[in-house]
């Protein structure tokens, strides 16, 4: 406040600035009564005091800068957007009912061509939800009473979540104590539910709660949930915890296995492809053979003089202990010496899957089969 004043009325008026409701008549009455009590103050002093009360309503500059969009305003914007969308569709000669956002973008780019480099500065026409930032609605009613009972903590959603989680822990512990008292308690561990899922990350939690969190808050919450998991819980608690777990997208377990094919002589073989850097290879592996390998029509000893490359070719057989049991005929192009060797190796490994059991396919998946990612 401005000047310190022993005047008791000032305290009341300060509370007024913070939004406490007092009827106007009573306020003036207080002031009149208060002014009457001041015997020593001069007339100008009283006038000045009156003036400061009326004028100085503390405006919150920072909050005004953050523009608040009322619900009515947003609703009006949405209506205008929908009407504008239909007009645009008519202009472009399209059907207004099936006019999607991509069509809108294309239409705007056509009607308002812009050479600006900054894409965000070009004309856009999007749904108001995407343009106006999401804000929290006003959190108290007409009488000023907040709706949420933890409003004064500053982070009501987060703390009510903590409150709920802790309440569940207490319930489970109480239930366990009751069972122990009756002698019906039995130790059981269920951990299989956790495999294949991960905890929510901090950003996802912030998005759900629409509130900023600190790292300690997030860590505290995860610790609480893990504590709930260590207890034996029932279905409701399980559901509550699963809300905060996300499944990890697992790579498809299915390795495409080529079916066995038979050529003119009745020999069983399998053909597949492999790529490494810029080399592409196609390998035909015969079910029964003596370990002869031919690359592009020539013997592999001729084609790959370097031992390392030949070892690459042998690796899949060596891994499955089938070194002298298959014949291979392959074609390869592109890349360099080592790249071609790697491509053939991958193709051979894939072809071998046909002749091999499921478990061995799993083993091979660890190293031999998942190799098409490194493009160099």
């Amino acid at each position: 406040m401005a000047a310190p004043c022993v005047f008791c009325g000032k305290a009341v008026s300060y509370r007024l600035f913070l939004g406490a409701r007092v009827s106007l008549a009573r306020e003036q009455g207080l002031w009149k009564a208060a002014a009457a009590e001041v015997q020593t103050g001069t007339a100008s002093q009283i006038l000045r005091l009156r003036h400061t009360t009326v004028v100085s309503t503390k405006k919150n500059i920072a909050a005004l800068r953050r523009e608040t969009y009322t619900l009515d305003f947003i609703k009006k914007q949405i209506e205008e957007f929908n009407i504008g969308k239909r007009h645009l569709a008519n202009m472009m000669g399209e059907d207004p009912e099936t006019f999607t956002q991509e069509d809108i973008d294309r239409a705007i780019a056509y009607l308002f061509p812009s050479g600006l480099f900054e894409k965000r500065a070009r004309p856009i026409m999007k749904h108001p939800e995407q343009i106006f930032p999401k804000q929290r609605a006003i959190q108290w009613g007409e009488d000023g009473r907040p709706f949420h009972f933890l409003f004064y903590t500053g982070k009501p959603s987060y703390y009510s979540l903590m409150h709920e989680a802790y309440g569940k822990i207490l319930d489970v512990e109480k239930h366990q104590n009751q069972l122990r008292a009756q002698g019906l308690f039995s130790e059981k561990t269920k951990t299989k539910d956790l495999i294949g899922s991960r905890w929510l990350i901090k950003e996802e939690l912030e998005e759900i709660l629409v509130e900023k969190l600190s790292d300690q808050d997030y860590a505290h919450f995860i610790r609480l949930l893990e504590r709930l998991l260590t207890l034996q819980r029932g279905g409701a608690e399980e559901e509550f915890v699963q809300r905060f777990r996300r499944s990890i997208t697992i790579q498809s377990k299915k390795q495409l296995i080529e079916p066995v094919r038979y050529d003119e002589q009745g020999m069983a073989f399998s053909r597949s492809e492999g790529r490494r850097k810029s080399a592409e290879a196609e390998a035909v592996v015969y079910a029964h053979g003596s370990g002869r390998v031919s690359v592009n029509g020539t013997h592999y000893l001729r084609y790959f003089p370097v031992t390392q490359d030949r070892e690459q070719l042998m690796f899949p057989f060596h891994f499955l202990d089938r070194l002298g049991k298959h014949d291979v005929a392959c074609t390869v192009s592109g890349g360099g010496r080592a790249a071609q060797a790697g491509a053939i190796r991958l193709a051979v490994a894939r072809a071998l899957c046909t002749f091999v059991t499921e478990e061995e396919v799993e083993w091979m998946r660890q190293g031999s089969l998942g190799q098409e990612f490194r493009q160099g």
Partner: protein, 288 residues
Amino acid sequence: MPPGPALPRLLRAGVRPRPQLLTRTTPGPARPSGRTLGSAAAPAVSDPEGDSGLNDRILREPLKHSDFFNVKELFSVRSLFDARVHLGHKAGCRHRFMEPYIFGSRLDQDIIDLEQTAAHLQLALNFTAHVAYRQGIILFVGRNRQFSHLIENTARDCGEYAHTRYFKGGLLTNAPLLLGPMVRLPDLIIFLHTLNNVFEPHVAVRDAAKMNIPTVGVVDTNCNPTLITYPVPGNDDSPPSIQLFCRLFRTTINRAKEKRRQVEALYRLQGRAGAEGRSPASAPSPGA
């Protein structure tokens, strides 16, 4: 009944038996005297009876009785003793300003004087009830993590608010920035624990005093009672004691709100019937 010697001199300042037309001795509105600081300057003499709105009648009626909500019946010295409210900390933890409230010390543990506690608790509950009756916002504050869940449940059950978490610096003093531009601050803050987790006075005690928000607080023997408007000397570490206080506050607030609803309904009916001169039919003390 006139406040006896159990009440400290300061608290008796505004409560004087007056030679009035009213036959009952009432703690009427305090006249601005040297002792009472920051009291409302509404002069009792020229009370404007001009706007005889229903609202004014509703608000003025409870102030004419000393214990309108009958909070005395909610507890007794015996019930406080059974809830272990009299147990304080060791003599080494004693705060200088709590010495008036301490009955004595046994085996080096301070024992709180339950007669004084009862008197203070009655004042505190009466004030809470009046604030709840006038639809004020009540905030429960406590930083002891053992009872955080209980306090939040208590607040939710009586429809009020709680803050038992980390208290951000300018929450009360810089509320427009932290909570929203036109936020309404609490009209009463109830402290179940006056100290925070490092045994220092809770920041909200000082901030409430700065913002002229009255406070009710359970003060243990190691707490500073000076900044709290209605201190209640008592144990804040035992579960039965805190459960008793929570139950008492919850009952008073619910009772006061129920009374308000009844009175509003009654006056609305009367207003509709159109007879202004009829006095309120119900007795001042609410039924259980």
